[in-house]
Amino acid sequence: MPLLDVKDLSVTFARRGQRTVRAVDGVSFSVEAGEVVGLVGESGCGKSVTSLALMGLLPKQRGVTIGGSAMFGDTDLLKTDERTMRDIRGRDVAMIFQDPLSSLNPVIPIGIQVTEVLTRHRGLTGAKATAEATDLLNRVGIPDPTRRLKEYPHQLSGGMRQRALIAMAVACAPKLLIADEPTTALDVTIQAQILELLRGLVRDSGTALVMITHDLGVVAGMCDTVNVLYAGRVVESARRKPLFADPRHPYTTGLLGSVPRLDAGKGERLHAIRGSVRDVLPWPDGCAFAPRCDRRVDACVGEPPALVEGVHRHAYRCVNPESRTVEVPS
């Protein structure tokens, strides 16, 4: 049984006088213990909403509807009441956010923010909590942790802040960690360090990691399994190697093609997917990617393409998939 089994997750936002938005539209994926799973896609494809839904952090208002199930052990994260959810958050499932500066409270020293979690879930107080917090900061690679504990977020560098947030997230050794674009706000050298740190934590503690990113470099370096999202649905899902070696969905190949390469020929133009995320076809009317797709055929429009399962659990949602092996010359 997987650690986390998300089935048919859907999130809709309805506002009076505006059309209903299906931000997530039937996403299914599973995470095994100790596994790193990537959720990849461009802005607005439903990555962050998926993570917030799993954490139970979407606002509970009229108009926000969450469907499907997310089994975490015996509990369904989507249907658990708020009180139980508060116990689960931080202890069993924790999250790392995109912007480390705004995710830390600016007027409270780092130390208090770290020990708060330790007090909440592990009952540690006073000197014991401080000692554990020092140890945590040490583990995430913050030098001179005793001094850092007394400092405020604005006194730390960007990388340090993200390390502090990671320390808070792993403080209670959660079984599942959700990282929502953890390196987007950082510069490239720090990005590499943070990814290395996350990789180490996953390896050492057996924590499973859901990595939400738009950066295929991050995916290539970290993930065991990758789910590519487009307009709220998984369009391709595979182990890392087959995905990079043999991408089937035109959106995936488009993403891969738009990564700048060092070995590209001189003067070669960077590939871009034409159109923008706004040019979607609603899923019920066909493939949402069809308006931007170069391989569009008549069958793309009319009814939504089903998720086709290929070899080695390599699944894709396309009626005219790319294929490296079968290249038909015209």
Partner: protein
């Protein structure tokens, strides 16, 4: 992690740490900026003098403020009130008491009225606003209802003209100095309540609240430990500014005859009220306490404005 990048990172931290050596928290940083602001220094200087006078006034006053020492010389009915002289620098008041002594001693009452009425307003306002803000930000449906009820009451208070409200309260409780403090305090309650509530609602949507929630921190803890400390800056600025308006409003109420009817304890607003009858004979009697009130209010306002600038993150360099 390669040792090279590690070293670079470490180097960056060392330099960053050096720049920040003095600054600790937002507040320390803010006070540092207030200290560097000349306007704030003027305000602080005025306030230091005012507070000093309020404390030592009774001891440095040349005469007793309640002694009718000039009784024989003053004929207020016939328009004779002796002006400044070598013995009495600011002359007598209409009952023959030494004006300078009354001013010096009256500073304490004036300061007390300002501070106590501001404290009344701040305490009740912050309590109401804090509860409403916490409820609105984190309480779900019940919380929003609590917030709505509290804020509509506050709105009703705010809808009444403040002077009318103060006069009604004073009329209800009977004229005394305590009444003035309560009336002025109640008038500032809705301002504090709205301000704190607004700041807390804004903070409730911030990323660090989401992050704390994602770590399972309890709602009350988030409200008190995270949202409240981030929402206090505007309230503190407002309190400083309210000290100025409270002194002026208290003077206005005294002027209208709602303050302490017994003129034995001198208070600037009361002195101003009494002087109006003799404005044509001795305008000085009105001008001295009025100047005192204006300068003190200016001091609080200058400091308040400087604090607003210092605490506003948008103005930080």
């Amino acid at each position: 992690m390669s040792t090279k990048t590690d070293k670079i990172d470490r180097l960056g931290e060392l330099t960053a740490a050096k720049q920040d050596e003095h600054g600790v928290s937002l507040w320390t940083e803010a006070f540092r900026r207030v200290r560097r602001n000349p306007t704030a220094l003027v305000g602080i200087a005025i306030l230091v003098i005012f507070v000093l006078v309020a404390i030592i006034g009774p001891w440095v006053a040349p005469y007793s403020p309640t002694d009718f020492i000039g009784k024989g010389e003053v004929r207020s009915g016939q328009g004779i009130i002796p002006g400044p002289s070598a013995e009495h620098w600011l002359g007598y008041d209409h009952q023959g008491r030494d004006e300078l002594s009354r001013l010096l001693v009256g500073a304490r009452q004036t300061l007390l009225v300002g501070i106590i009425s501001t404290l009344i307003g701040l305490t009740i306002g912050a309590l109401v606003g804090g509860i409403a803000g916490a409820a609105a930000g984190l309480g779900g449906r019940v919380g929003r209802a609590v917030d709505s009820v509290l804020m509509r009451i506050v709105d009703m208070l705010l809808a009444l003209p403040s002077l009318l409200l103060a006069v009604s309260i004073a009329a209800l409780l009977g004229a005394s100095l305590t009444t003035v403090m309560i009336a002025v305090g109640v008038v500032s309650v809705p301002i504090f309540a709205r301000l704190l509530r607004g700041a807390m609602v804004a903070q409730a949507n911030s990323d660090y609240v989401l992050a704390a929630t994602s770590l399972g921190v309890k709602r009350t803890k988030i409200a008190i430990g995270h949202i409240l400390p981030n929402s206090l800056a505007p309230v503190i600025v407002q309190a400083t500014l309210t000290l100025a308006t409270a002194i002026i409003e208290a003077a206005a109420l005294s002027f209208l005859g709602l303050g302490n009817p017994d003129s034995a304890t001198p208070e600037w607003g009361l002195m101003l009220a009494e002087a109006q009858r003799f404005l044509d004979i001795r305008p000085g009697l009105a001008i001295y306490p009025a100047l005192g009130i204006i300068i003190t209010a200016l001091g609080f306002t200058l400091l308040g404005e400087a604090m607003r600038e210092a605490l506003d993150p948008k103005l930080r360099k």
